[in-house]
Symmetry: C2
Subunit: 172 residues, 2 copies
């Protein structure tokens, strides 16, 4: 017997709508009186960097914390810091490489791209010389190319890499 696709029940739709509403709310507790305060929450700006190593390949880091898997180096943008400054800083913190930014690839914003929260990532293509070192949040670091990407890639980074390799192929 095959399983047919079915519409979600009204109860499921109710819970889905409640979940979507709660996503936009951010409740904190006053450390002095424990009063609950509802804050307006914005998506969180991040950067990710596709680092092209001079001798060939791009750099991925294997994450120490969930979501597990390999990922592009990257992280949060600080208040008062430009995306470009954040990309250079995060590349250094996560790979020890001094990168030269080449261009913005695209800005990715699907609310489901990170299971922990809604982040919006601007992805840069950069160049670097030398040997990357695993730092901070990484348990391993590696240089990959289109034909030997690792199987488990976190977030939407496989899809970002698809865009990157497709773009490079088209540009030939």
């Amino acid at each position: 017997m095959t399983k047919r696709a079915s519409w979600p029940s009204p109860l499921n739709i109710f819970f889905l709508l409640e979940r979507l509403k709660s996503m936009a709310r951010h409740i904190i507790q006053c450390p002095s009186c424990n009063h609950e305060i509802e804050l307006y929450q914005n998506p969180l700006p991040t950067v990710d960097i596709i680092i092209e190593i001079e001798s060939g390949g791009i750099v991925l880091v294997k994450r120490k914390n969930p979501p597990y898997g390999w990922a592009l180096p990257g992280g949060f943008v600080d208040y008062g810091e430009s995306l470009e400054e954040a990309a250079i800083r995060e590349a250094k913190e996560e790979t020890d490489l001094d990168v030269k930014l080449n261009k913005q690839l695209h800005t990715y914003s699907d609310p489901k791209r990170d299971p922990r929260h809604h982040s919006i990532s601007t992805v840069y293509i950069a160049k670097a010389k030398g040997e990357p070192q695993a730092k901070d949040d990484a348990i391993e670091i590696g240089i990959f190319n289109e034909s030997n990407l690792p199987e488990k890639i976190a977030f939407d980074h496989r899809s970002i890499l698809d865009d990157y390799f497709k773009r490079n192929t088209l540009a030939l």
Copy 2:
């Protein structure tokens, strides 16, 4: 007598550093006990839309609130909303036009681009038919082209429009 450029005094450097530090802090007051709570602040994601009208020209709105001047239609991205959804919604709210997004132009993040706070704007190029209407925050709406842009343009929108027109010229 000509005025020579000089280094800022140690006092000025102190005040500048304090100002930079305070930019990253966001203090709120508990509505129940007035306790001051320091929050971590992220830059605010926004979208701006360059709407190409089918009959020629792009749409700018004249702002009702400071900073005054003409600006691209745009606004804040909601938590749980993609940049594309935000761009279509903001275009509708500010111009009453139903836009079809064409592509991302670039994401702009200079901390000084908005005098009120650090916002990061992803700019879309879109197409629309029909007559734009001034709504919400606009006191006037107009269709402009490269040769008749208004004199007073808010934020970094003149520089964004420069990028847009330069790109279009290069693509010819």
